[in-house]
């Protein structure tokens, strides 16, 4: 997956990132750990407030669903028991969706996951593992599986998927599948192929994500 990302782009939050892949552009901010409102507080662990805001119009049920998926991906990778009775606010602003918003959300979701991961690291929140996510589409006639499909490719494909994997050991070992969200017509073999190709592509992506973090912090390190 080809992308450009930058961390620490905003000044008034604890961590932030900008993630651009093809025509999709996301800004993500992380604030935390901060004091939660009484209703958000969890006695033993960090509470997460996940917000996704669309490029055009007001947030609808579509964004709520995206928020829910993003929360499901982030919850297991954050070391939540480090911060009991605290809150972490994760806000993603979609600047350019890069797909037809009325039909698809795959590109936006995977970019949000990657952006949120970078912003969490930038904010210095304790993490258990890394994550990387890619959108996948199966092409109509050739049955070819492509990662990071464009808006046109999404439209013509019979099934579209979002895959998020959890990595440990410096991004070398896949620990778990965090999210596999599929839409359309596909069969079991195709799904296994998606997981296989997705693993390769996510591995490449996680390497690049690590590099971005490394480039960001290495000048700050005192040797």
């Amino acid at each position: 997956m080809h992308f450009q990302a930058e961390v620490g782009v905003l000044g008034h939050v604890d961590g932030s990132s900008q993630f651009v892949s093809q025509d999709t552009k996301i800004v993500c901010s992380v604030t935390g750990p901060i004091e939660p409102k009484a209703r958000q507080e969890l006695p033993t662990q960090l509470a997460l407030e996940v917000i996704i805001r669309p490029a055009k119009g007001v947030a609808t049920t579509r964004e709520k669903l995206l928020e829910d998926k993003l929360r499901a991906v982030l919850t297991p990778i954050i070391n939540r028991y480090c911060y009991p009775r605290q809150l972490c606010q994760i806000t993603c602003q979609i600047l350019e969706s890069g797909e037809d918003e009325s039909e698809f959300s795959q590109r936006e979701l995977s970019c949000c996951i990657n952006a949120a991961f970078l912003a969490l690291v930038d904010a210095g929140i304790a993490m258990n593992s890394m994550c990387a996510s890619i959108p996948i589409a199966i092409m109509k006639d050739s049955n070819e599986i492509i990662d990071n499909p464009s808006a046109e490719q999404l439209k013509t494909s019979p099934s579209v998927h979002t895959l998020a994997l959890e990595f440990v050991d410096g991004g070398k070992v896949v620990k778990n599948v965090l999210l596999l969200d599929s839409n359309g017509d596909f069969n079991e073999d195709q799904l296994f192929n998606i997981l296989e190709l997705g693993e390769q592509k996510c591995q490449g992506l996680v390497k690049n994500l690590r590099k971005i973090i490394q480039d960001q912090i290495s000048p700050r390190l005192v040797v």
């Binding site: 025509d23 552009k25 901060i34 055009k56 007001v58 606010q89 602003q93 350019e96």
Partner: protein
């Protein structure tokens, strides 16, 4: 602007004392507006504006809707200025009841929508049944003061940059031509209102604040977040290049006399003139960049102009 951030006593004393001695923290003079950086996105009507550390993104979109029953010849125009926690943790998601948030959206609304900057009659397709609904979504990304000024610039630049798809009307039936089929058409902009915000500080004690006889208040243009937190009064004037005052907003705070208001308007005019020219120049450069093959593809003869 924000309530939850609190400046320490020593920091606020320092800033105020510096102002008394004619200094600002960022080294600007009192009447200096921050440099405005405007960038266009890939699509029409996608604009980001940076003023110092303040970042605002504006996205214009349109769709076909039904006009209001009492205004059948007018299209719809909505500006949404919702502040999210991305600008700073002091802002709450979906909380538009905060005083500053309301003030900000009201002033933008007054400056752009109610001043008739956008020709809403030009958005009418079929009277009473179909019209364009234009929407401006302002995303505040980073907050370092001057939200009103920055979002006004962003909305106006966005509206001028935006192009809606071309349509053909056959009686009640309309055909919307995709952008790659027919050249999209720009919106009708009647004038370009730009906001300039003045902040006032009272160099004397609070008694002076009430009586206000000496008029020795300090006025600065385009305050940063820290200056906004400490100010005693605020005035937002909106002007356009035709030397028209679009709106003046001064909600309480330090009293000021009419001459001061005139002086502020004159100062603001110089600023808005510069910003308007900058916007127009950038739009020209952008359209040249987008249509760089137009000169090659056109069948028009070269003419002396």
């Amino acid at each position: 602007m924000a309530k939850d951030i609190e400046l320490s006593e020593s920091e606020s004393k320092f800033i105020l004392e510096a102002l008394r001695q004619n200094y600002r923290l960022d080294g600007r003079s009192f009447d200096q507006f921050r440099d405005v950086k405007i960038k266009f996105g890939k699509e029409y009507g996608d604009v980001s504006v940076e003023m110092g550390n303040t970042k605002v993104h504006c996205r214009i979109s349109c769709q076909i809707a039904q006009p209001y029953e009492d205004r059948p010849f007018e299209g719809l125009f909505v500006i949404s200025t919702e502040i999210s926690p991305i600008a700073g943790s002091q802002f709450e998601n979906r909380n538009i009841t905060g005083e500053d948030e309301v003030l900000c959206s009201r002033i933008i609304e007054k400056s752009v929508r109610r001043s008739g900057a956008l020709d809403v009659e030009g958005l009418c397709i079929v009277a009473g049944s179909k019209c364009w609904a234009v929407r401006a979504d302002v995303h505040f990304l980073d907050c370092d003061g001057g939200f009103i000024d920055a979002s006004c610039i962003a909305v106006m630049t966005g509206l001028m940059h935006f192009k809606k798809p071309d349509i053909t009307v056959h009686g009640e039936q309309i055909i919307v031509h995709p952008v790659n089929e027919r050249e999209p058409v720009p919106l009708g902009i009647l004038h370009i209102p730009i906001c300039v915000t003045f902040s006032f500080f009272n160099p004397q004690d609070t008694e002076e604040n009430i009586k206000g006889a000496t008029n020795s208040e300090i006025s600065i243009i385009d305050a940063t977040l820290k200056e906004e937190l400490l100010r005693d009064g605020v005035l937002t004037v909106t002007l356009n290049k035709n030397r028209e005052v679009v709106q003046v907003s001064k909600a309480g705070g330090l009293p000021m006399d009419a001459l001061m208001l005139m002086k502020c308007c004159h100062k603001a005019y110089a600023i808005i003139e510069k910003i308007t020219d900058q916007i127009l120049q950038l739009l020209k450069d952008d359209s040249k960049e987008r249509n760089k093959y137009a000169a090659m593809l056109t069948s028009e003869n070269a003419r002396e102009s």
